[in-house]
């Protein structure tokens, strides 16, 4: 009963449009006071959230990707990939997906990935005769690679609240990220072969390819450096983010010479705005998490689940459905923060690996974000392309099916995620 009341209060506050951070924090504080627990836990939770070294990676990764964005790296990347694969069947579509995958390795956010690549790719593809709905779906889906391929802000957050290794999570995201990339590329080629009406692009000449690649090379090297550094243990994710930020300044400021002082200041302010919004939600979720744990709610839900749900498969389907529904109103981070403390104990009780569960959550959360009629990534594409929601929604469906298939594959073959961190 308490569970239902608390959830109703939470959703009530959220629908009132109390910012997620303060809805969680405020309700958490209210519960602490009502239950006779020390309200000092509220400021302590704020403090201890910000005192986490791993969360320092959030502003630094955001600084890195914002500096690269302002330096126009998105267009360079797309041009380079296009020079290599543009003449394939559906070449521009393939180039778009590959650019998203590469950009995902320098950005921790699906919204940023979809917006960056979308800005260049959408007009280009439409002018070459690709069907609009296909283009929009492609971008909305391509953006989801942003948080699956490391670095990934939701994974940092998941690692922080569950005290699991962020490095392991990052590495576990690579397999499913590559699988999805391959599926998207294959679908784009099949679509172009049978349904496309696009003009065929001539193959770029070798000098053109080399020229385009030379401009994209520094960013590619940066992506490789960040992933290599984390993988080899040369630096922590937070340090990797700092190095990435410094390298982004060097690349855009001194090598490409595209970053102005003004653009740098804008990038810093933009990173600050997003960081503060993200970190406060985490702090709010921490207060809320503390309070509901003192009310023994995760324990009760976990017990309820283990009594009523007997197999892992059923549990996973329930989780998937719950996340898809939540995706109607929430963005990725809030979903991860609200659901993880509630679901993870039950998942572990059923024998799921916490790293695997984190990756599964990220995939499902991403599905939720592109599931029509409502989803954050749909809005982004709609805004970038000035498109109608109907077109975006129609285009996204085949990609959504591919993502759900990936989620299913992840369930049947957990090694898609776990092989790289634990068995390689």
């Amino acid at each position: 009963m308490t569970v239902v009341l608390i959830l109703m209060a939470l959703f009530g506050l959220l629908l009132l449009r109390v910012p997620v951070a303060f809805a969680l924090g405020g309700l958490g504080l209210g519960l602490l006071l009502a239950g006779g627990f020390s309200p000092l836990m509220a400021p302590q939770a704020v403090f201890s959230t910000l005192d986490g070294f791993i969360l320092l990676a959030v502003p630094l990764f955001l600084l890195m990707s914002n500096v690269l964005l302002k330096g126009g790296v998105g267009a360079d990347l797309f041009a380079a990939v296009q020079a290599w694969v543009g003449h394939w069947p559906g070449g521009l579509a393939v180039a778009t997906i590959l650019s998203c995958a590469i950009f995902a390795a320098i950005s921790g956010s699906s919204v940023a990935t979809a917006a960056t690549i979308g800005t260049v790719a959408i007009p280009e593809m439409i002018s070459r005769g690709y069907r609009k709905d296909f283009v929009y779906g492609l971008l909305a889906a391509g953006g989801t690679l942003g948080i699956l391929i490391p670095p990934s802000i939701p994974m940092i957050v998941y690692g922080f609240i569950t005290e699991e290794s962020v490095i392991a999570l990052f590495l576990a995201g690579i397999g499913p990220g590559l699988l999805l990339t391959a599926l998207f590329v294959a679908f784009a080629m099949v679509h172009a072969r049978f349904l496309g009406g696009q003009e065929k692009m001539p193959a770029a000449t070798w000098p053109e390819r080399l020229r385009a690649s030379r401009r994209a090379l520094p960013s590619l090297a940066l992506a490789a450096l960040v992933i290599w550094g984390i993988y080899s243990g040369a630096f922590t994710p937070t340090e990797a983010a700092a190095i990435g930020f410094a390298a982004a300044i060097v690349i855009t400021g001194f090598i490409l010479r595209t970053l102005t002082w003004r653009a740098f200041r804008e990038a810093a302010m933009e990173a600050m705005l997003t960081t503060v919004a993200i970190l406060l939600i985490i702090a709010g979720a921490k207060i809320f998490g503390k309070a509901i744990t003192l009310y023994r709610i995760p324990q009760e839900i976990s017990a309820f689940i283990s009594q009523t749900i007997e197999t892992g498969a059923v549990f996973i389907i329930v989780v998937a459905v719950v996340l898809l529904i939540m995706g109607l109103v929430f963005e990725a981070l809030s979903m991860v923060l609200i659901m993880t403390p509630v679901l993870l104990p039950a998942a572990m009780g059923l024998g799921f690996d916490p790293i695997w569960f984190g990756i599964f959550m990220v995939v499902m959360v991403e599905c939720a974000l592109i599931t029509p009629p409502v989803g954050l990534n749909l809005y982004v594409i709609q805004a970038v392309a000035r498109a109608r929601m109907g077109e975006v929604a129609r285009g996204v469906l085949p990609f959504l099916v591919l993502m759900l298939l990936t989620a299913a594959a992840l369930f049947f073959v957990p090694d898609i995620a776990l092989y790289i961190p634990f068995k390689l």
Binding site: V18, P43, L56, P59, A242
Partner: protein, 172 residues
């Protein structure tokens, strides 16, 4: 409340946000230096990790009010955005009221924590052994500024000037 204090306050939050952004950049510089010092000079620092963490704490808490004023705290717009004006005016004011009340509580209890550490001269016990209150003070300070901002925004919301929808650009 007269017009001038509100403008001054907007200036204050802007300056705080600028400092916040600069602190994040500084944290990046410190940690880059740390890695370079460790690998190229085999001389890791004792200060980089701790000071960069302080940058994160101060930077975030100082910037909260600015983020609220610019409607960039992530919120659920699915319902509130579609309400008729008269209803929305009430819900928006109430929503900001929640932020104000929450801030008030955090200022009160956060000050207690700060004051306790300050009075007892508690230190972090780390390499730098900084006073603990250095990291605890920004909690009441930041939430005090946020609380004032929330009250000012309540006044605006009541007058029909809503914070714009928070589909932040870069969030996950």
């Amino acid at each position: 409340m007269s017009f001038v204090p509100a403008t001054l306050f907007a200036l204050l939050t802007r300056v705080c946000a600028g400092i916040g952004a600069a602190l994040f950049v500084a944290a990046g510089a410190m940690l880059t230096y740390e890695v370079v010092a460790r690998y190229f000079f085999t001389a890791p620092t004792i200060w980089a990790a701790e000071l960069s963490q302080l940058c994160l704490i101060w930077g975030t808490l100082l910037s909260m009010a600015y983020v609220l004023a610019h409607g960039r705290h992530i919120a659920v717009d699915a319902v509130a955005g579609r309400l008729p004006y008269a209803v929305r005016r009430v819900t928006e004011t109430l929503a900001l009221g929640v932020v104000a009340v929450f801030s008030g509580f955090v200022v009160w209890y956060g000050s207690k924590i700060f004051w306790d550490s300050f009075e007892r001269g508690r230190t972090t016990g780390s390499m730098l052994d900084l006073p603990s209150w250095l990291a605890e003070l920004p909690v009441p300070v930041g939430f005090a500024v946020l609380g004032i901002q929330a009250v000012l925004s309540m006044r605006n919301a009541w007058a029909g000037r809503f914070l714009t929808a928070g589909h932040g650009e870069g969030e996950a």
